[in-house]
Symmetry: C2
């Protein structure tokens, strides 16, 4: 059986419709009983030997042509191999012509056992090559299928998590001294560290009391709330933060304050290469439990290299945490989480 | 007891020499029986209450002054708490005046139980704040002590590893077809994948034979060796690589070829956020074993953010591999490895 390329689709006859659509969920029936296949579907049928050629091209020639994206083919094949039926999203009035590029990377993947004739979608998959960049703002509702240079596929499920906890604490007033890149509180109230989990003891061995060092974000937040007194006030701390970190300091401070408002305790994520790790339910530092999230703060217009995403998500998984990106713009902070998925 | 600041050192008298140098390895004796302390040593003695003041300053005032770096103090204190004696390197003719900045971040740490009167150094420690950048070329002989914003210290030991293995294979000629971002070999000799561990099978389930996809670095290397025939030859593959990756492709290809020359099999490190993972002793893909290194390819003049270093090293440790940076310049490739250290 053979088929012909017509613009950005491949057309086949009535017999193809019965064999490929009705029986195995390939393509989309069109008027007159024929079948319209996405090029990637045609490539898969060629690969399997179900189609003989498309305009005289065999699978090798078809994949080497501009008609079909090899990375889309690898993902399509992988999902078929895993037992899924999947389609390109149905063209609508708006995107039929204009948004071909948008549509070109997407698959609607049906739950196992379901197909295009059902009304259920398990995953909305967006295909990218490891070399393509991915806008942070495009994440949150899709599964990224990243094809690496050796054609292995990593599926990354993205979502919009609720970020909230039950940590809360009343901290009595505290005095601090501003150093180059932190604030030292030589004689703080015990609640600062023990209940609020602010800062770090200068001497872990000390037991109950002793000096506490605050990071500049912690100090800026506490000074802004009026809890911390420091020469020059909150402004001096923020100014120092900008000196050492530039714009990033303001972004991190906004995310820090937002996390505290939501009942989370953010602590540095440095050892994990992130901005913060967070604890949702802190009552006392003696009973901390496990930090649940790794938070990376980014401007909302950030563009990822897929490799950096893979690195973050892999690391978070290895330490049993969830990777969350805090995207900051003038409107505020929005959260996107990303986890490995095995479809 | 008190002391006075004199330029970039702190001076104390003969009694201090006996109490601090002879008994506990602080400072350096100078002519006339007095003691010269590095500011960070004086800060530690103030903190412990062994010195009452330096020019009237208590520990809080001294740390808030420009005389001493707080991050150097945290590292000094941490290493003392761990039972080490340590010194600033002895000033030499050359660096006494000119290289104060260079010396300001360094400690020579003596083996436990040894001190400045012995002739043995366990670690050469370079102190950096998490916000400072670190030149890749400065690594290889030192331990980085990175102080994060919450004053926790991460020690990273850097070295210059031997990178070599015993993998070798003879591959018969193979034909390939150049796609957008890889080369497909529809009918390759079994040795290509099974002995050389080049590429990836299109169908894992296939068993013995079937199409193999090569990454562009693999294909460029094989075409350069005359093993792979492809339209346009090695030049066409390299050209395609530069189109999709720019300069990075040439750097990665040099490292890839160098690794193969050294008897290592490099495969993509994408899932670990690296350029390559490597296998030192491949005889057959059926008996692969564990890949030992994660390799990140960088231009030799690369400058790290400590956080990125921490991320790479943490991830590598989590998957029981060693993180190696391949630094590329016109002279060739040099290797630096980085591992977490608990002193």
């Amino acid at each position: 059986m053979n088929a012909t390329l017509a613009g950005d689709v491949v057309r086949a006859g009535k017999q193809a419709r019965e064999r490929f659509y009705d029986a195995r969920g390939y393509g989309r029936p069109v008027d007159g009983g024929a079948l319209e296949l996405a090029p990637v579907e045609a490539a898969h049928l060629l690969y399997r030997g179900d189609l003989d050629d498309v305009d005289g091209m065999d699978v090798g020639e078809f994949l080497a042509s501009a008609a079909v994206s090899e990375v889309a083919f690898f993902v399509y094949k992988d999902l078929r191999d895993r037992g899924f039926y999947l389609s390109r999203p149905a063209p609508t009035e708006g995107n039929r012509e204009a948004d071909v590029d948008d549509r070109s990377v997407d698959f609607e993947v049906y739950p196992r056992g379901k197909g295009p004739w059902d009304d259920e979608v398990a995953y909305h998959v967006c295909v990218v090559s490891e070399r393509e960049s991915v806008a942070a703002e495009s994440l949150g509702d899709c599964v990224l299928a990243v094809v690496d240079e050796e054609s292995e596929i990593t599926y990354l499920e993205t979502g919009r998590p609720e970020v909230s906890g039950t940590s809360a604490s009343e901290i009595p007033p505290v005095q601090g001294s501003l150093l180059a890149d932190r604030v030292l509180c030589w004689d703080p109230p015990a609640e600062l560290y023990e209940r609020g989990f602010y800062g770090q003891r200068l001497d872990d061995q000390d037991g109950g009391d002793g000096a506490v060092q605050l990071s500049l974000v912690e100090a800026a937040s506490l000074a802004h709330e009026g809890v911390l007194s420091v020469d020059g006030g909150a402004d001096a701390v923020r100014e120092r933060g900008r000196e050492v970190e530039g714009d990033r300091f303001d972004r991190r401070l906004r995310v820090y304050e937002r996390l505290r408002e939501e009942g989370m305790v953010p602590k540095t994520g440095f050892k994990f290469g992130a901005d913060f790790r967070t604890y949702a339910d802190v009552e006392s530092v003696d009973d901390l439990g496990h930090s649940e999230l790794l938070v990376r703060v980014l401007p909302a217009d950030h563009v990822f290299e897929p490799r950096d995403l893979a690195l973050d998500v892999r690391l978070a998984h290895g330490v049993r945490k969830t990777m969350v990106f805090a995207l900051v713009d003038d409107e505020g902070v929005s959260w996107v989480d990303v986890e490995r998925l095995t479809p």
